[in-house]
Amino acid sequence: MTMQPQLVPEAGGSPNPGTPDSPLSEAGVAAAPQEVVGRSPGQLAWRRFRKDRSGVISASIVIFFFLIAFAAPLIEKLYGKDPYTRYGQIHPGLLNEVGAPIAPNGGISGEHWFGIEPAVGRDVLMQLVYGIRTSLLLAVVVVIIVTVVGTILGITAGYLGGKVDYVISRVIDTLLAMPSQLFFIAFTPIVLALFVSERETTPTMLRATALIIVLSLFGWTRIARILRGQVLSMREREYIEAAKVSGAGSGRIIFKELLPNLWTPILIVATLDLPTYVTTEAALSFLGVGMTEPTPDWGRMINKGFEGMQSDVTYLAFPAIAMVIFVLAFNLLGDSVRDALDPKSNR
């Protein structure tokens, strides 16, 4: 995760030396320029972020993806196709006898802008649009769960120390040592079988929940590890000592003293985690344990496109490019967020 964006240098080599807001001291506090303006750390971070061109671009891309995900039903209405109808199988002239799109470039036409899916004949654009929903929804929920759980356990372990720290740390070690991918493949069907009668279709929501559970189970360790380390170094600081001496309880120290200083790492890990979960979910679907047909899913699309690469490269191109753009944008955004919040890091 050290993919450094092309940053506009903030200090020293600033493109417009002398502009009021550029010279920043090491601590991230505005050094007295021509005119003294009081700014909060948040404001400073925002200013730094705005000046980071790749950060702004990637943020817009990420917002665009989220918008599409939210507006999927609207797009469906305007475009007039849905992600489930097997157009190619129902309407003659779209797929040939072996199931390949007849029109060039994967069947791109005025009717089907991104072409149609080989063999099944669904609309690729709608599959993509609804696929974002699947990927983003799962990833966002997992990130929220993982961040909350990881933060609580990480801070607790770091602050309380002793036996609590020992237990939590060993659990983290155990989980980190386990081959998570194998675990997913082995346990997803078992988790599902626990909840559904064998004579009923597995509801999509349940499948999603199962995925969220297995992904969260392993996911919280990363952030917990980082926060535990941070807290270990912080709890010996004077201001914590001071709080303790003045009689503050553990709860107050954790939430009022420690947590505000931990927002930076939490935010950074969360933004970098999100694209990881999008790709993990896609990878699981690629392996056949993620979302199954007929739920639109990028991982499955890429898998299918990959298999049919030599006969219909278009079908691979759309989901693959979309995935690359999305993951890249989110990673760059994560880096920019880190640079903005914590300009000292990784310089």
Partner: protein
């Protein structure tokens, strides 16, 4: 009669997630009609050959040359090479090259002939099939030069009475003892005893006589399975034979690293004059195991380096590859084409869906064309109307309920039938495994049967457990894909295991759980007919009778398009749907 077709199928299938190679194409699929080109081998009629057919040497393959190394790609490792234990199409194909047996198949173009292999003919009987006598040919030798004698064939059969090794064919063991639990009558040679002379008699070094419990007209076919491969007692290494059999064919194993590679070199002691089917053209066969289907296609289409002289043993390409073959004429010329022994169908759980009109409505609503698109349309196979495969002796299509039906079914008509039966909203659980083909195939089935008024539910089963789940008596499934390949091209190994009500048991092969006492009685009657051709006619009549009850929905006759490198000559399908190793040469 264990899990023949099933096992072979498990090996064959899982073609689910296949792929191919490069040559980015943005020119579109086009709608060329030649994509539908029918398989070249339509009906491979099987004939029982004469002593003249059995005489070696085998006719030369036109243009064949000697020398060179042929590479063979296979998806799995070879779990059983002991000829009596190999019961999956790829294993049987390799085993037939290494281990000779009493009879074997000679395939010339579309014609398959059963001929004597070690024996001078396919066997003679004087009492209507109860006693079968074989005479061995001259100058038969093992890889170490010792002669093959009739007592070794007997010992080979005796070994297969060992109960632990019942994963192989058990026809002859059952017929000799007249019991499915043959190991109770005779536990095998490792307990010290020999099979008595009233079962297998070896009057001299060249003669072997089988005394069966009841007449079996199909004995010559059963003798083509590895059960009758000879085994000298002194060379029996028991379990180790399974990885390194003692060769009697034109090639012997020099290296076998399980799941990695198998190298076959020429057996200098094999006499071509004694063999009417096998050749010894290439110097070496080099099998690479564990190569996924997708990788096999990529390597064979690219045909770089040694892959130019390589071929796939039995991996069928999927839909994407079908399009590539259709658009690349050079590739089209190095792909086999023909129908194998497998007839695929969708079984209906007859224990749960008991109303024949409901089953009929399911068949009429079934979107066969859309479903087949998921596996490459007509390149996967032609639509079937019978239980029998076209490779079955006496195959003749009859008037079926698919006549005059649109290829994607008639959902309106099905709905009317369902309404008439008062079963609108009938719950149907479609069981599929998690492979891509099965998932995509389920989409139109769910949709169209739903349109016809069924309440459709889908259930995913892991690839590994698939047959175990649908084989259970109380299976949750109501509709499921199944494939069956006969052990030999007559009806005897089709209707007996698949539609006999006595096979409706846990892990039985009557997956449709179809019970009809009249059919059972017919099966027993037809099995007693010892004239194979007369029997074949009766099997087809039984086929039609069973289909009147619609226990299953016939789907496709599986087509085998297998890719081979441009330097490979003599590549053709064998009777098991794999590439015949006997005629392979390097151009």
């Amino acid at each position: 009669m264990t899990s023949t077709g099933k096992r072979r199928f498990v090996a064959l299938f899982a073609v689910g997630a296949l792929a191919a190679s490069a040559s980015a194409c943005s020119s579109g699929g086009g709608d060329k009609k030649d994509n539908t080109a029918k398989p070249s081998a339509k009906t491979a009629s099987v004939v029982i050959g004469t002593a003249a057919d059995s005489k070696g040497p085998a006719a030369e393959v036109p243009g064949a040359k000697k020398g060179g190394v042929a590479g063979v790609l296979n998806r799995t490792g070879f779990s059983h090479l002991d000829p009596g234990r190999a019961y999956v199409s790829n294993l049987m194909t390799v085993s037939e090259l290494i281990s000779r047996r009493l009879t074997t198949y000679k395939r010339e173009g579309d014609k398959t002939t059963l001929v004597g292999d070690l024996a001078t003919d396919t066997g003679t009987t004087t009492d209507g099939g109860k006693t079968w006598k074989y005479t061995l040919k001259d100058n038969l030798k093992y890889e170490d030069g010792t002669p093959i004698v009739a007592a070794d064939v007997k010992y080979g059969v005796e070994r297969m009475f060992n109960k632990a090794w019942n994963e192989g064919p058990v026809w002859i063991q059952g017929w000799l003892t007249g019991s499915d639990k043959y190991w109770e009558a005779y536990p095998g040679p490792y307990e010290g005893a020999e099979l008595p002379n009233d079962k297998i008699e070896v009057p001299d070094a060249k003669t072997i006589i089988f005394h069966l419990a009841s007449p079996q007209g199909d004995f010559p076919f059963a003798a083509a399975m590895g059960t009758t491969a000879p085994m000298p007692k002194s060379k029996d290494t028991k379990e180790q034979i399974d990885t390194k059999p003692f060769a009697s064919g034109p090639y012997k194993i020099t290296t076998h690293e399980p799941d990695k590679q198998l190298i076959l070199d020429k057996n200098p002691n094999w006499d071509p004059a004694s063999d009417s089917v096998r050749h010894q053209y290439v110097d070496q066969f080099k099998f690479e195991m564990g190569i996924p289907g997708a990788t096999q296609f990529q390597r064979l289409t690219a045909a770089a380096g040694s892959d130019a002289a390589a071929f796939t043993l039995n991996e069928r390409p999927d839909a994407n590859f079908a399009q590539q073959i259709a658009t690349d004429p050079a590739l089209k010329n190095r792909v086999t084409d023909g129908i194998g022994p497998y007839a695929n169908r969708f079984d209906i759980n007859n224990l749960r869906i008991t109303d024949v009109n409901v089953r009929k409505a399911m068949a009429i609503a079934f979107p066969r064309q859309s479903a087949r698109l998921a596996e490459g349309g007509p390149t996967a196979g032609d639509f079937s109307t019978t239980i029998a495969s076209p490779t079955q002796l006496g195959y003749a299509p009859y008037k079926s309920l698919f006549d005059g039906l649109p290829p994607d079914g008639d959902q309106a008509k099905a709905k009317q039938m369902l309404e008439a039966a008062g079963k609108v909203g009938q719950k149907v659980v479609l069981c599929i495994n998690t492979t891509k083909v099965q998932q995509e195939r389920a989409l139109p089935i769910m949709d169209m049967l739903g349109k016809a008024g069924f309440q459709m539910e889908r259930k995913e089963i892991s690839d590994k457990e698939y047959y175990d789940v649908i084989g259970k008596l109380d299976t949750p499934c109501d509709l499921y894909w199944a494939g069956w390949g006969a052990d030999w091209p007559t009806g005897s190994t089709v209707y007996t295991p698949v539609y006999d009500s006595r096979q409706v048991l846990d892990n039985g092969q009557n997956y449709a759980k179809y019970k009809n006492p009249a059919v059972d009685a017919e099966i027993d009657r037809i099995l007693k007919i010892t004239d194979t051709n007369a029997q074949a006619v009766e099997w087809m009549k039984l086929d039609e009778k069973i289909m009147q009850d619609v226990p299953s929905i016939p789907y496709i006759y599986q087509r085998h398009r297998l890719v081979y490198g441009p330097q490979i000559g003599g590549a053709a399908l064998n009777s098991k749907g794999a590439i015949d190793l006997n005629n392979i040469f390097i151009k």
